[in-house]
Homo-oligomer: 338 residues x 2
């Protein structure tokens, strides 16, 4: 019996200029470009095996079989790729994260980047990196960025085909340190998908969208020039701007916890003391503390000393999605490579 | 030797729709109207005595003689009233607060309302309540509101004479409970006067100003209709909107502390459980928890049980500024009453 199987690995990413609010919720077309750094240690490895004898898709994450909304989201995603390949076989998807869930690192970006690459390879689809990014986006918006390594910008686009990421600079361009201060691992009351749909209810959403244009230009230039303070200033402001939109949406989304504020104030006090350190915060309570390698050990030790901080996870710029294995002999078009 | 002396008492106030950002910093002309409740227990009693034998103004707050910026601000304020009265005598000002400083209740509103009323009475100035509010505003913007009791709106105005408060409803109209959860009494890094000047640097300030118009109308109607949930919704949103402006100004003002977040989340969880309770937060870390009298004891007990809460101060709607004493025999125009 033929099996079309492949395995891929992708890193999560941390956005310096955030994605919040969609032009089209179903297609996950964002309202603005966003910009991120792909992470090297927070990765997902996903194996996809399409088989003619499966009655339904099967999804196993970290050894636990999933059903409901999680399985449905993956099935719907595989449907896009099955349609493209002209195959209807169901798949068995095995996914493993190298990092704890709920630790302030969005797992869906790495997961859908790896799933898209593995499924496309298993199906023998000859997708360009741009197409891969476009498909990954359908599963999770920020997965579009995790297709590429280093520093990545996702171009908003107004149609499915036009909304994809591209690399600004490779991981080797600039070794930034992302130390995630984990203050809570509780499940979020409102996930990102639901949150995006509320962005337009905030009186501040139009102002943030108008501001993002300038912020992106500053962040891009700062990365290319390796100007840490310029990047830090615009990154920290944009994180606060996104959370301001969240807080003032209806219903109001308050992702911060007491420990979030403790870390934010600590970062600012260290910066006042001359340490190059800034923060950014995704749709959750944990704080990504960005610094330079020569300050990593000091910053991590200080973070660990904050009572509300349970754990500190360190990442550097990482590579884009990689194909790890492929069952050449049984795939539909064996000569196609990623 | 003649002494022109009078003593007045005024309550602090808590803004439901906030004042943040000036059209004119020197005249304290705000960019928008604001709306508050005058407090009954958090009061200031101020005695002013103008004497021909004083070489300089003297300011004593809670028994401690003040110099520097505090004395200068009071002197400048008295100058406006001295100019109006055509008198150059210096004054001895004795002020006592019934509430701790740094406890999340702005003392300057009560202080400048009481100072203005006492000084005007001592000088025998026949000021209407509106004029009194206009003068109080020159010392501290929100003091314009503390001239009146109950529920008060401050009309922005574009000139000194046109920027004053008026009462929407008396204290007896609606017994709301303001339970201030004090999470920190540390001195603020940036006072309100400095903060107002930064408001225009936030990309969100124009959006908040545009939104305040609607918010004021909702708050006014909710107060007149005694609609607690309608008032709570618009009040909480506007507090978050003001803090969003503060956080995204440059430099960024982050007034919240870990305990602030703890109280905010607690209030929301109680509300989800059906308790009528909302929060608002001034330019500081302490949280004003607004509820109805039948829930006061439960809410206060719950607040006291939050580890970060050091103290809970309860206030109800209070009266406007009152003249307590006046040395009739030596005042310039003894038949003038406030």
């Amino acid at each position: 019996m033929p099996v079309y199987r492949a395995k891929a690995q992708a890193g999560a990413n941390i956005a310096f200029i955030k994605y919040w609010g969609n032009l089209d919720d179903a297609l996950r077309l964002p309202l603005t470009n966003s910009l991120s750094m792909t992470l090297d240690r927070a990765t997902t490895v996903t194996e996809v095996a399409f088989r003619p004898d499966l009655a339904a898709d099967v999804l196993i994450i970290n050894g636990v079989q999933q059903g409901g909304a999680a399985l449905e989201r993956v099935s719907r995603h595989l449907d896009h790729l099955r349609a493209r390949a002209g195959l209807t076989w169901r798949a068995r998807v095995l996914s493993e994260n190298s990092f704890p869930t709920g630790a302030g690192i969005a797992s869906s970006a790495a997961a859908f980047a790896a799933l898209t690459a593995a499924a496309a390879a298993a199906l023998g689809l000859d997708l360009s990196p741009r197409e891969l990014s476009t498909y990954a986006r359908l599963g999770s918006g920020s997965a579009a960025r995790s297709v590429f390594g280093g520093f990545v910008e996702w171009v908003a686009g107004a149609r499915h085909e036009d909304s994809y990421a591209y690399p600004i600079a490779p991981p080797s361009h600039w070794t930034l340190v992302d130390a995630v201060a984990v203050v809570s691992t509780a499940h979020k009351a409102m996930g990102s998908t639901g949150g995006h749909a509320l962005a337009s209810t905030s009186p501040f959403q139009p102002a943030r969208l108008a501001h993002v244009h300038t912020a992106l230009a500053k962040a891009r230039s700062a990365i290319l020039a390796r100007d840490f303070h310029a990047l830090g200033e615009v990154m920290e402001l944009d994180a606060l701007a996104m959370h301001a939109v969240m807080m003032t949406s209806r219903p109001s989304l308050l992702y911060w916890q007491p420990g979030t504020l403790a870390v934010m104030h600590a970062v600012r006090s260290w910066r006042e003391a001359g340490i190059p350190v800034y923060f950014t915060i995704d749709a959750g309570p944990n704080v990504h503390v960005i610094t330079l390698p020569e300050h990593e050990s000091w910053v991590v030790a200080q973070l660990q000393a904050i009572p509300d901080v349970r754990e500190v996870l360190v990442n550097y710029p990482g590579p884009g999605v990689r194909l790890l294995e492929r069952e050449e002999e049984s795939s539909p078009s064996p000569n196609t490579t990623l």
